[in-house]
């Protein structure tokens, strides 16, 4: 028996018969209805602002209450005035900022002229960065300018900041850069 798929979904005569029977008082109660538990049911909820663009959408972060505290889910905050629960594709993928097997977990170092990156310890990386910053800063530091005015500035380092930093992070960053004597400080402020 050949029917088209279009006809097949439109065969509804039997449903009408079923309704007629239900008029006799025989309940057509659900054959199957599974109440399902949300994966976020026992999670801790924290509100946050999406780190990506200047719109500043609100999001809810669901984290596990059991020990590890990992992120279970991040979705738009329906109560947030800006986005009312919606998120763009980048925002909808926020949970992958932490939950992604492709994330780097160690600092990576590529020595001058080396072809490969290699993982190094945080201790080595931080002390190496501090050492090199100090070298550059000390060698390029100007105590006075040509007019003999005191300027105390580091001319050999510039900072191009992270667009993903929020207002408070930018303040700390700015304070650090000024303390080092930097004058070339640029930031693509978004949120």
């Amino acid at each position: 028996m050949n029917v088209t798929r279009r006809e097949f979904i439109q065969i509804t005569g039997a449903t009408a018969a079923g309704l007629a029977v239900s008029g006799l008082g025989i309940g057509l109660s659900p054959v199957k209805s599974h109440a399902q538990m949300l994966k976020t049911k026992y999670a801790k909820e924290t509100s946050t602002i999406c780190c990506y663009c200047a719109v500043g959408c609100g999001a809810i972060v669901h984290t596990s209450q059991k020990g590890d505290g990992r992120v279970i889910n991040i979705e738009g905050d329906p109560d947030h005035i800006i986005n009312k629960g919606s998120l763009c594709p980048k925002g909808a993928a926020l949970s992958q900022l932490t939950e992604n097997s492709n994330r780097l977990l160690d600092p990576m170092y590529r020595a001058p002229y080396a072809k490969e990156w290699k993982p190094v310890s945080w201790e080595w990386a931080l002390s190496e960065i501090a050492k090199r910053i100090q070298e550059t800063r000390d060698s390029s530091f100007q105590h006075k300018n040509e007019k003999k005015q005191i300027v105390n500035r580091a001319m050999g380092i510039a900072s191009v900041g992270s667009a993903a930093m929020d207002n408070e992070e930018c303040w700390i960053y700015q304070a650090l850069m000024r303390a080092l004597g930097l004058v070339y400080i640029e930031h693509q402020a978004r949120i």
């Binding site: 439109q10 449903t15 109660s29 209805s33 949300l38 979705e75």
Partner: protein, 239 residues
């Protein structure tokens, strides 16, 4: 009282937030894909991808149009896949939400039969034969939340709610949209729980946007099962 989606493709910008939110909520892995010369990616729905935004370039009345179609399971009111399966432990309709649900028992079904029966070419299987597709975020809906794709949609193209409300909204939008797009129509609104509003001929959006007219062989067994299904459901409550 079951639910329905209303998807207004005239508002869709193909940002694919729905695709991402769907993967995110269901914890589905990414797929390794290749550049096929289109932003439409992954190339098709799969066991791990329940939702794909179709993008088609068409010249209509001498003007280039880029048509977007967020494709997913339509949660048919009389689902052919469920009728063909004939096993409530594998494919059933959640009477409370209207979601057509595939369980792990789908691996005992004949995949080709199920896929053939689908007017929209949606079911896909994994390597062990288990089938999967959009589940209407049944867990979220049971707990009073919107499906992930609807919640994330930034343009309002995706809507979800009580069927009557969605049908009203669809009719209202159809009237508005017709002023600009005289050929606008709703796709199979009386047969499915995912109602699309399109501005042009549905097949311009995607081959399977509208229920396929291709014939398939319905066995007598399946035909009988379909005809007697409501009676069988009643019987299961009497005994």
């Amino acid at each position: 009282m079951s639910n329905s989606f209303f998807i207004d493709t005239t508002l869709c910008t193909a940002c694919r937030a729905c695709q991402v939110a769907c993967k995110q909520w269901h914890d589905l892995p990414a797929e390794i894909t290749q550049n096929r010369g289109t932003y439409e990616n992954p190339p098709d729905v799969s066991f791990n991808t329940y939702k794909v935004v179709r993008m088609r370039e068409n010249v209509i009345d001498g003007k280039l149009n880029w048509l977007f179609f967020p494709e997913q399971c339509r949660h048919c009111i009389e689902p052919p896949c469920q009728d063909i399966a004939g096993d409530e432990n594998a494919i059933y309709t959640d009477a409370k939400t209207g979601a057509v649900i595939y369980t792990a028992n789908t691996k005992y079904l004949n995949f080709e039969e199920i896929r053939e029966a689908c007017p929209y070419n949606i079911p896909r299987k994994s390597s062990d034969g288990t089938m999967a597709k959009c589940d209407m975020c049944n867990d979220r809906v049971h707990n009073g939340l919107l499906p992930a794709c609807v919640q994330t949609c930034p343009t309002g193209a995706m809507n979800f709610g009580k069927r009557e409300e969605m049908l009203d909204l669809a009719q209202k939008r159809l009237l508005e949209v017709k002023a600009k797009y005289p050929k606008a129509e709703l796709i199979d609104p009386n047969d499915v729980r995912v109602i699309y509003l399109v501005a042009y001929e549905p097949t311009l959006y995607h081959e399977f946007a509208i229920a396929s007219n291709a014939a398939f062989d319905m066995t007598r067994q399946v035909a009988l099962r379909k005809i007697f299904r409501p009676l069988k459901n009643i019987a299961s409550h009497l005994f």
